[in-house]
């Protein structure tokens, strides 16, 4: 399998098809970050598309001493935050709408647990949500998250702590209702 850096170099040298494996490799990752940030599959698809378009346009500025996946993550996170910040679409999804106003038992029986978590995530600030997404859904290390968000590891940890505490409160309130 050709490595990312070689594909980037070939694309920059004019081989358009070299971008295809990069899309293949990272589209699921980018899509899932976007989905958890925007909480809407169509918006996530749009964000994903824009991420790769931007990546193809700015590939000349990519520094190959860093991992390509960290670079594309950074674009994905920025694009998602910009999108969520401007559209604020997720706010339209109320907790009750996402779970149908169901009781905790109904939530569990109807298999709505993940929907409840997703709805809870939308209640977090963008800064807090993104660290939860990167750490818990993408399973990135603190160092990787720090690189992507351009933050010291210490700040990543403290933000993650705050985010988890907030999410605990949101979810326990919802599940104890």
């Amino acid at each position: 399998m050709t490595d990312d850096q070689t594909l980037v170099r070939r694309f920059l040298e004019g081989e358009r098809k070299a971008f295809e494996p990069l899309v293949e490799r990272y589209q699921k990752t980018v899509y899932n970050v976007a989905l958890r940030m925007a909480n809407d599959p169509d918006d996530a698809a749009d964000i994903t598309q824009n991420v790769f378009i931007k990546a193809s346009e700015k590939l000349g500025s990519y520094d190959p001493t860093y991992k390509f996946f960290s670079w594309i993550y950074r674009i994905a996170v920025n694009e998602s935050i910009n999108f969520v910040g401007s559209a604020r679409k997720s706010e339209a999804l109320s907790e009750d709408l996402a779970t149908g106003g169901s009781s905790p038992d109904e939530i569990l029986q109807a298999g709505m647990l993940s929907e409840t978590v997703e709805a809870g995530l939308t209640k977090l600030s963008d800064d807090n949500r993104v660290v939860i997404v990167l750490r818990h859904f993408e399973e990135l290390s603190y160092d990787e998250i720090g690189f992507i968000l351009d933050l010291p590891v210490k700040t990543v940890k403290s933000r993650l702590f705050t985010a988890r505490q907030s999410l605990k409160k949101i979810l326990s309130k919802r599940l104890e209702r």
Partner: protein, 428 residues
């Protein structure tokens, strides 16, 4: 230990980054501090909840759309293909709204004219054209039927309702034409009409044609979840199962996700094990569990072996104890050990009780010392006693012989066992 220290260690433990020394310190603190223990339980629950959110596969069309946009010289603006395609279907919905508002005149006639127009006159672009370029999509959009086309209709429905074909001559005729149209045209027609009409056609078509139709639909984008749900709910189970068996896995899974629980279980049972396994792999955790529960034991064992460790662990945690024990016995050591490690204490104790001697020994040998010792330490005395009561003496002996431990861990377990024995002796 300060609050900050134990909180950091708890997250380290849950992240799997904790050292044995830190773990020992943490468990000491947990044993002594109610607040720390509460924080630990809350955090563990949060990790469990976050772990219940599965990763989602993007539409297979997405890659094509991205690459076409990048390769074309067209401006990569926010006017994406996704929304272009989406807007095509706004036609059907807005049309329905308009009909219900009495702004359009003849609902049934519309369906009939749609059939005539699309089945006979309109040259349908292939899927690749629809999704591959903006041009294809725009062309498709620009030639939708209009009010002008409706006036040709002779049907007598005036309220805009769709109703059943038996009460709607226009729809009945449309359905008849639909049945007689060739595959490609029928598929094109099907994609173009509203949910209610799709449902109606779906009911009226024979199985073979339904399967063709379903296969012809492009999921996620052109067939929204709403549509998929309406279609899946409208078909009887037998028909749905026939379609699911003949469709490719992605579409079967999509159909599956959109069906209600009862239908889903029936559908699931009707599928081959290979498809069941694929669906389980791609389905959200909670739904996987429902499905898993609906399968019979023989299939379940096969499924179990086909799944990833992560999903197995999730399913295992949520399965009822009896089934979990059966599964456990049927799985190989590596997997058994994997879910044992992921299970909560109650389940671990139950596994311990239900497993045969050889597997228990293997299992315990496969666990690291800290975890083995931790398991015993973390059981309440009642539970320790319960586990011990249920294990025959030779099993306990075998268990101990199989452990490779340092002195401190042995002493720790011995202390636990003294408590267990005391509890057992008291009971006896």
């Amino acid at each position: 230990m300060t609050r900050e220290e134990y909180q950091e260690l708890i997250y380290k433990e849950l992240d799997g980054d904790i050292t044995p020394e830190q773990s020992a310190r943490l468990h000491g603190a947990l044993a002594a501090d109610d607040e720390a223990r509460r924080f630990y339980e809350e955090s563990r629950s949060l990790y469990g909840l976050l772990g219940s959110v599965a990763r989602v596969e993007p539409s297979p069309e997405l890659k094509k759309v991205i690459l076409n946009t990048i390769h074309s010289s067209a401006s990569p603006s926010r006017h994406t293909i996704v929304h272009t395609i989406k807007s095509l279907f706004t036609f059907s919905h807005s049309q329905e709204v308009a009909m219900h508002n009495n702004k359009l005149i003849i609902g049934g006639a519309l369906a009939a004219i749609a059939v005539l127009y699309f089945a006979v006159l309109y040259p349908w672009p292939a899927d690749s054209e629809l999704f591959g370029t903006i041009g294809g999509a725009k062309k498709y959009r620009s030639e939708q039927i209009t009010d002008k086309d409706v006036v040709v209709g002779q049907e007598n429905s005036t309220d805009g309702s769709v109703g059943g074909s038996e009460n709607n001559p226009g729809l009945a005729r449309a359905a008849e034409m639909f049945r007689s149209a060739d595959k490609e045209r029928a598929a094109g027609l099907f994609r173009s009409i509203s949910i209610e009409k799709q449902v109606e056609f779906f009911r009226s078509a024979d199985l073979e044609k339904n399967a063709d139709l379903y296969r012809s639909l492009t999921m996620d984008r052109s067939l929204t979840m709403e549509r998929a749900m309406a279609i899946a709910r409208s078909a009887d189970l037998e028909k749905l199962a026939g379609i699911a068996r003949s469709a490719d896995i992605e579409k079967t899974a999509q159909m599956f996700r959109s069906a209600d629980l009862e239908r889903r279980a029936g559908l699931y049972r009707s599928l081959t094990m290979e498809k069941q396994a694929d669906i389980l792999k791609g389905t959200q955790y909670e739904k996987s569990v429902d499905l898993y529960r609906s399968a019979d034991l023989e299939k379940m064992e096969g499924l179990f072996r086909s799944l990833t460790m992560e999903k197995l662990a999730q399913i295992y945690r949520s399965a009822d104890l009896e089934k979990a024990a059966d599964l456990f016995r049927s799985a190989d050591l590596e997997k058994s050990a994997g879910y044992f490690r992921s299970a909560d204490i109650e389940r671990q104790a139950n596994i311990y009780r239900s497993a045969d001697l050889e597997k228990t020994a293997d299992l315990l040998r496969s666990m690291d010392i800290d975890r083995t010792a931790g398991l015993f330490r973390s059981l309440t005395i009642d539970k320790q006693a319960d586990v011990m009561r249920s294990a025959p003496l030779e099993k306990q002996a075998e268990f101990f012989r199989s452990l490779t431990m340092d002195k401190a861990a042995q002493a720790e377990i011995a202390r636990s066992l003294t408590l267990d024995r005391r509890a057992v002796d008291t009971k006896e």
